[in-house]
Assembly symmetry: C2
Homo-oligomer: 396 residues x 2
Amino acid sequence: MPAFASRLANVETSAIRELFKLLGRPGIISFAGGFPDGAMFDVPGITEAAHHVLAEEPGALQYGATEGWQPLREQLAAFLKAKDVRDVAAGDLIVTTGSQQALDLIGKTLIDPGDKVLVEGPTFLATIQAFRLYGAEVISAPIDAEGVQVDRLERLIAEHRPKLVYLIPTFGNPSGALLSLERRRKVLELAVRYGTFVVEDDPYGDLYFDAPPPPSLLALSHEVPGSRELLAYAGSLSKVLAPGLRVGWLLAPQALLANAVMCKQFSDAHTSTYAQATAAQYLQSGRLPGTLARVRTVYRARAAAMGEALRSELGDAIDFTAPQGGLFIWARLTGAGGKVADAAEFARRAIAENVAFVPGAPFFATDADPATLRLSFATADEARIREGVARLARAL
Amino acid sequence: MPAFASRLANVETSAIRELFKLLGRPGIISFAGGFPDGAMFDVPGITEAAHHVLAEEPGALQYGATEGWQPLREQLAAFLKAKDVRDVAAGDLIVTTGSQQALDLIGKTLIDPGDKVLVEGPTFLATIQAFRLYGAEVISAPIDAEGVQVDRLERLIAEHRPKLVYLIPTFGNPSGALLSLERRRKVLELAVRYGTFVVEDDPYGDLYFDAPPPPSLLALSHEVPGSRELLAYAGSLSKVLAPGLRVGWLLAPQALLANAVMCKQFSDAHTSTYAQATAAQYLQSGRLPGTLARVRTVYRARAAAMGEALRSELGDAIDFTAPQGGLFIWARLTGAGGKVADAAEFARRAIAENVAFVPGAPFFATDADPATLRLSFATADEARIREGVARLARAL
């Protein structure tokens, strides 16, 4: 073998990936996943869409435009309009192979080795790695229950003059935090004041439990003149329809979009037209709002069950804010009563009790907090959640 | 907008892409495409496979392993075994989002800025661009009707000590050339002698007209000790099943495969499980050999029709070798009889006559030959081919 490229030295296969190999053990209750519950996928609706596509749209089996399947781009623009995004048309976005590819294309088009990127601490691990592969120095901005702390973010922007700021403002992975409306406005104002480019990643925004979240940065941008041109938005159908379609999208200023299309042409030519056409047909069928309503009800009940069980079983040994949407509870071990305060050690003990979660430290680009952990409530029913939390209590 | 990454300066949106914008003109006969004829896709077979998957394999809508859908990896290993590849198992390959992604992952894992890569002159344009995006200096090795000239290739290897050599030995795009068995052995021997890594791209090998082509480099590698560890192989279902599935694969030594998986995790997480499961089910159905037999018959007739028409209509103004498979006739304007010898000028005149092809110069990484052109016979029937060639004669 020849020598590998030096860019590989910036990343490593994640600790989380190793953990996942243990999850096949029989009887294990897993709160470790980052995925939606497959039992809630609208299989009949997707099947109907697939039938239609295969019978009526022969182009869905052929090569397609790098920018995406036009009917899907139109459906996605309508989807955003329905969430109060103004001035959005099919031509403002491209379809990507999952929103992961949108992040990869942002890295490929924007990041030179040595460029600095600010992210939430904690944030989505695969974003940190995707950007590091292009040579980024990724720096964490601290969060609290209302999302990223904008005063700290401003100081970091002023200090580091980053190439971009990456945020998951709504029910982020892993934090589950919801950035307040006030802070959203402030982020857009910071973008304009410092000329800082902001990437909003929004795969979870539709998974709210009660009231809808505040408008996305994208939807708010019309209130802050100049901010829309400094904003890219990555979206995904993985959490609202089905991850297996691998359909995401990138909305961005035209100059960035043009370069992203060029890079995508040489990355995978285009996203599966078969999957895109199926997704477009599904969205057109009008079934998504009903599906989302069912999903929200189920996740709300599971989040509540997990929150209640954690409080009653683990008491003051654990600290967390009940999430208002998404898939995750982000928690911190307090060490109260001499209990274990290191989440990696807790994870090992938990595996011995046949329950799994993900320690929080790998989600920090810098300044990792070893007491943190991520618990997903999405894929176990309420009885299993209670049983799993009881096992966690034994492990603690 | 912030400044774009400096890697973008190494590539540009292709001249070909611009040409393709003209192809929507009514009445135009296009020999410009690089795609198979959609009318020959086995839509009933794919539909049956999709039904099965949606009814029986709920995992096909969920996230999947970055390495690929296991039943598909097994089917692809069997597909290679049936083409005389020895010692191949599912674990030796990963599924990619089209073989384009296999090429991108090779670039991402292996190429540092300034690394040299040898390719055929001409070769697949999107490979040149994919590698350049990672900073490669791409250098052409000349070809003739029997594929790359191995003596010239050896001199270039000795001179440049490239990071890798990229070849499409069988019915390459755009050349349509078939690397002889003797030259195949020689390429593997060169790999071992110089410790040079070779990437074999093989999307067209199943599209032979009469006798099957010589074994792939991969299938031959067991005859040249040490060559298998210096070989990666990119395959695709796009030309044999349907491009819209976007299913390709990368077979490579384990160390490279592990790094490709890590990079793919952060590029698109995994290829659409929905598309992968559909492809796996199709391959398992046993319909592919019948489909390929039909496709070969049709393409053989079209290639013959185009070859005969070119010889009778354009005479000694054009020179080409009749292809033995694939989708393309690669030709060269001779300038005989004072006719136009510049393919770009000829392409402009052809468009005026409502017929299109692709000039050959962009397919050369270095040392472009402006007299060359690529004609696809894949998507027009024989009458349209004859009419199109008659228009070419008028344009000439």
